[in-house]
Amino acid sequence: MSMIVSSLKNLLSKPDTVRYPFERTDIPSNNRGRVVWDMERCIWCRLCEKNCPTKAIVTDKAAKTQTITRVRCIQCRTCVDVCPTNTIAMEPVYSEPGPAREVHTYAVGMKKGEYTVGLMPLSERDETRLRKR
């Protein structure tokens, strides 16, 4: 086959691309995406906090919260795998890039999928700024 034939064949066939983001792309259901907690099930074993390779998760047993620093998460699925009670799940989405230095906090009593947005601890933000310089 030559490229001319291939070009003409492509011209007559349906395009392979989609007009993302106006159209949906198919994301596999097991795509490693955003980490979410179902706080009703958490037994405060802190395994996710201990095993997270980037230390993105902070478990606060007293305040009954799980906090994740989104920019630190590398979506390796370790926390989901170690969780003994299936508290943690991963939503199959592609993570959006962004500069936000935010932490998301999941607390007992919140509805499923709900979280509060906070700022990264000051010490860490300073550290990042120092590193930048």
Partner: protein, 287 residues
Amino acid sequence: MTDAITGLAMLIAVPLLIGLLLGIDRRLTARMQNRVGPPLLQPFYDLWKLFGKERRAVNQAQVSFAAASVLLQFTAFAVFATGGDLLVAFFVSGAGNLALALGAFSSRSAYGQLGGQRELLQVLAYEPVLFLVIFILGWQNGSFLSDAFGENLLYLLPLALIAMVPVVLITMQKSPFDIATAHQEIVSGVYVEYSGTYLGLLKLGHWFELAFVFGIITLFFSADDIVISLLGKSLIVLVFVFLAVLIDNSTARTTRGDMVFKTLAFGLGLTIINLVLLWIDVSGAIW
């Protein structure tokens, strides 16, 4: 009087049509590559965006050359559209290309230098062919004035029309002959040191240049009925765009020596054969 009005209408309408043609070109290219491609009006959006950007130039000379390039190309097309002399239009358009090359040289950037040099080589490659085609058109027609073309020349000069293919490839900056604007080699060469409004100006100049070259192609066909005439002219142009896109999508870029040699051999060869055949049989009976 009517001539002046049609000329004026052409001056406004044709650049818009060229923009649309480039949109079709991009859409076709995308479909041949199995992509959806941009909206049809993308070239206009691009131009609009460039004109909306900050004005920054490397030096003053560069700005003057950009302005000169767009003005000369516009003049060339205006001469053509208002029924002027084709030879004048040809040389003015050539001067526009020269201004583009000089603008690239003035920036003192290594890529600009290479781009400018390659632009001159392109001029060397396609202008003799274009000149000969214009000459053969004028010779056959008996006049070099663009509004004096009323006769159908297609069956007399088919080889000269085919000789225009590499010329269109070069002016449309299509592979295998997109030497001066080679993105992956010299980072779009002549355009590399331009940005924003001035880049937009150069792009507009390129539209006028295309308008002139496609104008020459439309001279090959003419009919008594104005509708058939216009349809035939647009068809030839569309066929040329389709061919250019197809060739663009099935070849790699050649090198500069190759471009000069192939364009000259192919273009000059065909036009000269056509000329010789005409000369042997002046009555046109064998056609």
